[in-house]
């Protein structure tokens, strides 16, 4: 009985849908988090009577055949990359990216990772690092005697040193963009890695053509919208229930069959 296994694929798909939605809701206040969406596709079809085959010698054709679909599968779980809201924190080392681009972060392995979470800090040596202590590329060190740090919208980092009238430029943050941001490989901790699907990063100065700008004292919140998620959750839950009803019905039909003498 195909209906049983078809409904089972439906239940599995909805279960995954609920998992994706719950991850979105769990990350509602994660800095720089981009919400995900599960995308479904129909599964294979069994051709019992093919469309377009001849139904007689004179060349009449079958106008609509019998194709039994075998259920549903997950096509992709993709990330929706639109901008999150700007949250004013007032912290000198919080930067939000407005528009396209990722900050480059050097992992302990030496590999480059990419993030939109701009909650930066200083290390013991005065270097600008992420909240996990990984160096933000290209490695900027703030002099220990600096009293104030300014990061302008083009990514230039300036430090105010006591006794000097003009702030001193200590470095330049850059941004990396990708042809297909949805193809980045999420690593957790708000970090992403480059993949064949994302394309190679192109690194440039914030504010130049094709790159976003930086905003000091702000953090980009997640782009999860509670109303959308909850309504998606309700749809997914009901769809799950209906698939389970199909299983019950198919089971009842089979029990009728087995009760025949």
């Amino acid at each position: 009985m195909q209906a049983l296994s078809i409904a089972a694929t439906g239940m599995m798909a909805q279960q995954l849908n609920v998992e994706v939605i719950s991850n979105n809701i769990a990350n509602m206040s994660t800095t720089g988090f981009k919400r995900q969406r599960a995308e479904f596709q129909d599964l294979l079809y069994q051709n019992l009577r093919r469309v377009g085959t001849n139904s007689s010698d004179t060349g009449t054709i079958v106008p609509s055949g019998v194709q039994i679909g075998l259920g549903v599968k997950t096509g992709s779980v993709y990330r929706i990359m639109n901008q999150g809201d700007m949250n004013n924190t007032g912290n000198k080392l919080d930067v939000a990216i407005q528009g396209r681009g990722y900050l480059r972060v050097e992992l302990p392995s030496g590999e480059d990772a990419y993030t939109r979470a701009g909650n930066l800090s200083l290390s013991a040596t005065g270097q600008i690092v992420t909240s996990d202590g990984y160096t933000v590329q290209p490695g900027i060190t703030i002099p220990t005697e600096a009293t104030d740090i300014t990061i302008n919208k083009d990514g230039q980092v300036q430090a105010t040193i006591p006794g000097q009238t003009a702030p001193q430029v200590v470095g330049q943050l850059d941004l990396a963009t990708f042809a297909n941001e949805a193809g980045l490989d999420p690593q957790g901790d708000n970090l992403f890695l480059e993949t064949a699907a994302s394309g190679a990063p192109s690194v440039g100065t914030p504010g130049s053509t094709g790159y976003g700008t930086l905003l000091q004292g702000f953090l980009e919140t997640s782009n999860v919208n509670a109303v959308t998620e909850i309504s998606d959750l309700i749809t997914a839950q009901r769809a799950y229930e209906m698939n389970s009803k199909v299983i019950t019905a198919a089971d009842e039909m089979m029990s009728v069959t087995s009760n025949l003498k």
Binding site: L4, Q41, G69, E252
Partner: protein
């Protein structure tokens, strides 16, 4: 005598298939661009031995086809600039390894090289029949109502440029299209351009399965199946009685 059982069986076999179709509709309740299917049944009349025969003709059930409900599904706003919903008639054109396929699933994306592709990585074609590749400094991809794609290059003024127009085609008989899985359809019919295309950016078309209709159909099938089973049972009873009574009196 066996006829009653065989007629009941033809009904039950058809019901089993109808149940599969309903199950597939419900399983695809959240599939982008999915169109619900329903079975078409036919009476198959078995000829009798001769015209003057007192026997009545026998009618069997045959499932001769399927009907695709091509009504629009509901629009779901995703906010993703590369999601497009086709409102009204028309299909997007996709170049797959097996040839050109058609889809209503407007969840598009860019691959690593910047080419506009479906979620399986197959390029989406423009009305000129070619794929579109965006360069890395192009942003703000806008897809107009008629499918025209415009991009801007940041930082420069008057930088909007038209990059092509998504192909939107229709066919004389949309029932005569073959489901190819992965939300794709194929056909050998000639393409006709859609006269008044209506593409909505930032939304995708949900499936047009109406849960309430599918659930009622499902209950209907279940109960009809039970009554067909009763018929088979009754026919079986008659035969059993015939065997025991005729054998008993002999």
């Amino acid at each position: 005598m066996d006829n009653a059982i065989l007629i009941g069986l033809s009904r039950q076999t058809a019901m089993m298939r109808q149940m599969s179709v309903i199950a597939n509709n419900i399983a695809n309740m959240n599939t982008t661009g999915y169109k619900s299917a329903s079975m078409l049944f036919d009476e198959y009349v078995m000829p009798v031995a001769s015209e003057t025969s007192p026997d009545k003709t026998l009618s069997f059930v045959q499932d001769y086809g399927q009907f695709r409900n091509v009504a629009d599904g509901e629009m779901q706003t995703t906010g993703n600039p590369l999601d497009v919903a086709v409102s009204g008639e028309g299909f997007l054109k996709v170049q797959t390894a097996q040839g050109v396929r058609y889809t209503r699933d407007g969840h598009l994306q860019l691959d690593g090289a910047g080419q506009l592709v479906t979620q399986d990585g197959d390029p989406v074609l423009t009305d000129g029949g070619s794929p579109i590749t965006f360069s890395n400094d192009e942003s703000q991809i806008t897809i107009a109502r008629d499918g025209t794609i415009t991009t801007t290059r940041d930082g420069t003024t008057a930088s909007e440029q038209v990059r092509g127009k998504l192909a939107l085609v229709n066919f004389a008989n949309v029932q005569d299209m073959k489901n190819e899985a992965n939300n794709l359809l194929s056909t050998t019919q000639a393409e006709q351009p859609v006269q008044s295309p209506r593409i909505i950016q930032g939304s995708i078309e949900g499936s047009n399965v109406k849960p309430i209709i599918e659930m009622t159909n499902m209950m209907d099938v279940m109960r009809s199946y039970e009554s067909a089973a009763k018929l088979v049972d009754a026919a079986d009873d008659m035969r059993r009685q015939a065997i025991s009574q005729i054998a008993g009196t002999a």
